[in-house]
Amino acid sequence: MSTTDLVGILVTTFILGSIYGLVAIGMTLIYGALRILDMSQGSMVMIGSFVGWGVLVVAGWNPFVAILLAFAATFLLGTFTQLVSVQPLMKRRHEIDFEMITFITTFAVAIVFTNLALEIFGPQQRNVTFVISGGINVYHGVNLPYQSLAMAVVSIVLMAALGVFLARTRWGMAIRAVAQDLDAARLMGVPVGKLYPLTMGLASALAGIAGVFLGGLYFASPQAGDQPLLIALIVVIFGGLGSLPGTVYAAYAIGLIQATAEVLVGTTWALPILYAVILLVLIVRPQGLMGKPSEARL
């Protein structure tokens, strides 16, 4: 492996890792606060990619508008998803296998969104062109496009903003409280009936913004959410379900593995290698980097 390859890997890791982090951080936030695995996050990415296409290609506006609209659209849809597929089950959460049922219901919502998009837009992949062109030549032949750099930076800023929100604001603390002890949080007066949909809305909105970026890197299509969903699952398991710092580390780790695999064995085998990695993690250390063993193992 040459130095060019190495630098290329680092650049890809930086970009992919940042965006993967943005996709996955919502998922782990939802798991921490609601104890569910939200399988609709992938479809939020897909919706974001279409918003990106609509704003940048069809309307010709600038990327900030795309980001804002994607945020708004997926925030609303995420809230809606929670109200429709999770909230009705909350009452029975102790009688049923809550985690698995919500896995199915959020998955059902994902199916609906994906196939509505398929019906409306058709299966073709659409390019999402950003207005920023050009890039930095980081090393001989390794180009870091400004567009990708901007995406990575915005992703990092958003993740940091989420961290600050959770650490310092009243509602952010309330989300953390609910994640740590639901009953105690309710005793403090935290209105969980409002907090849950808002948390899912927020998480979905982050995935939606990531969708704008991924649409730009790849394309917008109804299937555009499938792979991000799987990547998000891999990242959150690797990092430890419910742990935000774990997810961030894991996102870069997964980005690194994928970038290295692509150089060593080619793109086709990169994803199966990730699956093999997560398979190994689930067998050996299911709680991932920073999760609690008691939550993963029987």
Partner: protein, 239 residues
């Protein structure tokens, strides 16, 4: 006779099909410290949970300052001024002491109001202030208990429910905790406290109720009950 802050009538509640509380009735007057004593499994914790809304009773009425709250969500009941310090403290393990206290003031929407409540709590509980930046899960048993009590003070309350403050603590820590409770009593906080045995409550209890099989079987003052040989034998253990 002023209206009670808390009036519980014919309360039935439990988990699944078996009721743990079977027609419990009790009233707590404003400013009073009422203590419920009883063996484990006879409904002490279940009762507090049914009052604060964590558990939905199947029958009966709970009036908080005249307003029926039975079966309402705990978020709602707590906003009406009921503070429940649960068994096991209910602290947020990964948060610092200060964050835990701030969560206690969650209903206060202004940052300043929360900070003011924090300052007041620190004044009453200097030991807690010393540990402000410490993560809750690293605290000792006594420190956790005090933090939970301090957190209970973070918002205006009509009544404070305290579940087994002496549970799992060494005697020295128990004394500290009850000292703190005595301070709360001195500042006219209405308290409903449950304990397994009433060794420590002598100094603070205005009324003692004994619960057996989910009902109050006897009530009286601490002095009266501590002179009754059957009560002493069952509940006092070693004085």
């Amino acid at each position: 006779m002023t209206a009670p802050i808390l009036a519980v009538t014919d309360l039935w509640a439990g988990y699944g099909r078996a009721p743990v509380i079977r027609g419990l009735e009790v009233a707590v007057a404003p400013g009073e410290v009422a203590v419920i004593i009883g063996p484990n499994g006879h409904g002490k914790t279940t009762f507090l949970r049914a009052v604060s809304g964590l558990l939905k009773p199947s029958r009966g009425e709970v009036l908080l300052d005249g307003e029926p709250v039975q079966g309402r969500a705990p978020e709602y009941v707590s906003l009406l001024g009921l503070v429940h310090v649960p068994q096991g403290d209910g602290l947020f393990a990964e948060m610092t002491v200060e964050e835990n206290l701030l969560m206690g003031a969650f209903p206060a929407s202004s940052w300043r109001a929360r900070r003011r409540a924090l300052a007041r709590a620190y004044e009453l509980f200097p030991g807690v202030r010393d540990r402000a930046r410490q993560r809750a899960r690293t605290l000792s048993g006594g420190e956790r208990r005090l933090t939970a009590l301090a957190r209970g003070l973070m918002r205006p309350s009509r009544i404070m429910l305290i579940d087994e403050p002496s549970l799992g603590l060494a005697p020295v820590a128990i004394d500290t905790v009850y000292g703190a409770i005595a301070e709360l009593k001195a500042s006219s906080t209405t308290i409903l406290l449950v304990e397994e045995n009433f060794t420590h409550v002598g100094g603070i209890a205005d009324a003692v109720h004994i619960v057996e099989m989910g009902v109050i079987v006897r009530s009286g003052s601490f002095d009266d009950l501590s002179r009754d040989p059957t009560v002493v034998g069952t509940y006092l253990g070693s004085l």
